[in-house]
Symmetry: D2
Subunit: 346 residues, 4 copies
């Protein structure tokens, strides 16, 4: 059977090409074969039809080759069926573990602000602290973070209150500092396709939290994670943070399908940043419930001792009182005081 | 105090203008006042600054006038604080009532297909049947629905199995037919801003299910509902059905913030069409959970005896077996067999 | 040759199905054939692969059927290679004719405002007047147009100053009025997929100006035109008016690719509404130049005696002085005074 | 006059804050002042109204402060009224100079392919060569460019044929190599908000070509340029390359408003990448005409000796014959053979 032959050939060629690092598609080969085929055409239908059909068969063969490759994507559930559980210190994220909560200020602004927040969230049972020392800002003259000082402040506060420190890296040249001070390296939405930084971070063993780009497709997001895994780093957490839409009532639009699909297509843990997803304190509770209902392994939220005077995001961070309200309304309240390793009952 | 005077005046003028049906903004009046003010300016800052400040005060005054109007939007929770409960037959939708489930085929294709589906969903405790007799199709040569025959088939099947009949109206000239055959008039995404049809439907007393447009903002969606309420129809159910985004893994993107905000800003019940939101059978369960978690009062889903041969939407409808799986996975299974008026435990 | 046989068969079946008005795709037939084929599979590759390949061949056959159909789309250049020239009175639009200019207020507000504008644009050589009597407004309490009185005012003004009258229809029930008073029926962006109105308007012989929906793809826009042509109306003008994007500096984003592709794929004249595309008077000149450079057959622009007090769109309409400036900057100045039938020199 | 006093104060405070690098907005100060004001309220309207009005006045004052700052944005035409002309070798880009043409392959794949292209375009009068040695690819296993070898090949080819070499930098750590080999540093769409790389590139004196992000607003794009200028680099060229939209007929959508607004709001030269904007060879001519008509200072286009076997972008690059056709159809043909410093006649 001709088709069987062709497909067997295509698979073999595809394999060689993969080894050589070439693109599978060889249009010259295709053009030659099409010419042979149309020369042999004895009707009843036109050469255009023959070409169209064989073009489709070539594409089917190529798709087979790509499917075969897909099996090799390290992010794919077809390669790695079991849920990956990322350990941050002794905190497991993903799989059957209870959803975690990451909390902390948008920016580390001072020792006082940082320690007050760390102490507060630790008292509520939160184990994971977030806070930016390097801040990506649209305007070059906005507050850009405290830099290395911020990393030190964050580290000290986390050590003092038994927290794990999650903070954003913006430049591969800063890696040594981050390896020293941070527990989880966050890659922000604007750097999701900063491919050389992804490779550099992929060569460390630090857990990584990879945010989805503002207008990235799910495939682009997963391929960004593939960059990390392809360099050897297995501890990758995906984080949905809302996508850009036309909506003016919200800052971004939480995409729960992306959470569900990331869980279906990959084996990685997925979190939801509910602060950036909506940009509105009054949406934190419903977005948290919706994120967990769609399968998220954790929630990230911004909390600040006094949001009104925060140096960044001051309209969307919540204060301590609102945080307690958030815990109660979402049921996190109860869960954080329980023993770990219990499945969260959403 | 000058400011007090001006605001008092503005309110009075605004009221008169509202009664006259005029736009509040009178730029001529504003230009005259600005000229008087700059003439009176004795420093220390420039006329441009004075103009800018007073422009802002004018705008503040206008905003006050608009806020005052907003109080009069019939959809607004500021006007009507309690949740509206829409009765469809004896089924309450909204408020503290358990979330409902609407099920049925995309299109009514034949008596057999319709009755088989109606009988099946009724046997599972579903009380609300959906099915289109008039189908909005991008291509004029696609199947456009059975028209009046479809309405009759749907009516007969619903009567036979004790179901309420929800079906889409596309033209105000068809109203008499719909008033005769349907229990709920659905307004589709493409007709969300078909304003004359909104007014016509608003003058009936039939419950209305208003889908959100494919790229409509939340405000535009709520204003479309306002058209219905402004004509006297109080029985309006909003229905989120996914928005257009760049994503290629899904047909549309479910916007759970829209559900949450529609609940916050209006008093109307809100449903989620999970079939169109994702366009993928494998997302029906997580999107249902997420929709209910964000506050939805019900879910709408497409089910067909044999989706593979459906005349429309044949990739996204599910069959009876998959529907039973859906009921079990989402917990609807249990809820539909319980007594009504119990709160659903999400 | 098996493939040839199959394709010949598919074509014949497709033709019969088209005549019967059925969808081409018959999944049952496909399932049966797949079973036969896998039963006959003697290696060397798996049934899954065989299925995948034959699935692709089925799709190829279906695509052939659809391509054959496409030849029958009345909007397609493959059916009608020559440019369609739509005559509005004695004004030709499309083909090699000089690009036209349509001007007038957003809304017809009064006899004075309408006649002042008509007199002014006529004095500048403009032959096509636009003005809305029925206005689609997001808010039900905004100014909705003068209705039938507006149509009468527009008709009278156009007759007085030798202009053709273009005005928007929002409801098929108003058709008799529009047939009496208007020269061109405009279908607005919000009604681009109001399919029953498209059919009704398609059954008249009045020229139609069909605006692209706010978030419509080019294919959806062309299919909307197909509705009009399929009912017999050959005089359809497409009008790009900007699409919704994330941009906040503009109201919409002019899509010049859509203009170029509409010219490539269809034979219909294409216009650009530069007022709505940008929503900014300072963009009217560059957007006009870009629209014409990408192949537009005409430009539509809003002009008002006193935009500051207009009842709608008062930030984007321009006054008479700005209109003269627009004519000079875009070169329309010269063209409008020349003899018709000369090609515009962009 | 109270308002005058307040604004004078705000300006002074704003200036001090700018010097201190703080955000202007001090919500604590605002809260205190609001309390004082409402305490002093003697009717006739509510404290809520008073608060709303004064809130607006505070915002007006803040806006004044921000406007004052805006005067200090180095990209702004309010700071630098004259068009900036960027010199690339002896080729001027911007101002009244004829629009330039940048051509070359997507990727540098081999010495032969690169020199064949360079020789060809040089023979047509093109002075600016593009070609990527480091390629940002969604998939980590796609061809990623030849790296340093590619830079050397590009440099040699450009020297041999008298061309300027434009190539994309993806990592600040590669700067020394790029300073050695390249004439213009291109910053790609995916790195538009790679802020640390922007700063690093801004500290060189090499001309920079800054592409707009796939879903960036015009403001974000201009602010990215501000990062470059703020570090001292004055030679920045903006490059529109199409934005992501829902459209499936094109790869991206060319945004001519962005070209026009970038010219209005900044003093920098603006180019259009017509290959990526449409992703379709049949749109290159209309998009080039539209880009130039909207004010672009140059066009960038991909050309390859044999696009069918290109290692990247093989559907959108054109071959030499198509390039000659492009030159003839757009009128570039004539312009490139003329003396420089003549204004291009679009």
């Amino acid at each position: 059977m001709l088709l069987s032959e062709r497909a067997r050939l295509a698979e073999a060629i595809g394999e060689i090409q993969t080894q050589l690092g070439l693109s599978h598609y060889d249009p010259l080969r295709e053009i030659q074969m099409l010419e042979i085929l149309t020369a042999a055409n004895r009707g009843p239908f036109s050469n255009a039809t023959i070409k169209s059909l064989f073009k489709t068969i070539f594409q089917a063969s190529m798709q087979l080759e790509q499917e075969a490759d897909k099996v090799h994507y390290l992010t794919s559930r077809q390669v790695h069926r079991a849920d990956t559980v990322v350990m941050v210190g002794d905190i497991p994220i993903g799989g059957k573990h209870a959803p975690v909560l990451v909390a902390g200020p948008c920016s580390i602004e001072s020792r006082e602000q940082t320690e007050a927040t760390a102490m507060f969230i630790a008292s509520r049972g939160v184990k994971l602290f977030r806070g930016g020392a390097y801040k990506p800002r649209t305007d070059p003259y906005s507050f850009q973070g405290l830099g290395e000082d911020g990393l030190k402040i964050g580290r000290t506060a986390c050590d003092k209150f038994g927290l794990q420190f999650i903070t954003e890296i913006m430049d591969p040249r800063d890696l040594p500092l981050f390896v020293e001070y941070a527990d989880v390296l966050q890659i922000g939405a604007r750097n999701m396709q900063n491919f050389t930084m992804l490779r550099a971070v992929g060569r460390t063993t630090k857990p990584v939290l990879l945010k989805r780009g503002l207008a990235a497709t799910i495939e682009e997001w997963v391929m960004a994670a593939e960059y990390l895994l392809s360099e050897g780093n297995q501890s990758v957490i995906l984080c949905e943070r809302g996508i850009r839409t036309f909506e003016r009532y919200t800052r971004n639009t939480l995409d729960v399908s992306a959470v569900a699909l990331a869980k279906l297509e990959t084996h990685l843990p997925v979190m939801v940043d509910v602060t950036h997803s909506g940009g509105r304190p009054d949406l934190l509770v419903p977005l948290t419930k919706a994120g967990l209902a769609s399968g998220a392994d954790g929630i990230m939220i911004e909390v600040h001792p006094n949001p009104a005077i925060a140096l960044s995001d001051n309209k969307q961070q919540i204060d301590f009182e609102a945080f307690d309200h958030f815990l109660a309304e979402t049921g996190y309240h109860k869960k954080l005081s329980e023993k770990r390793h219990e499945v969260y009952g959403f």
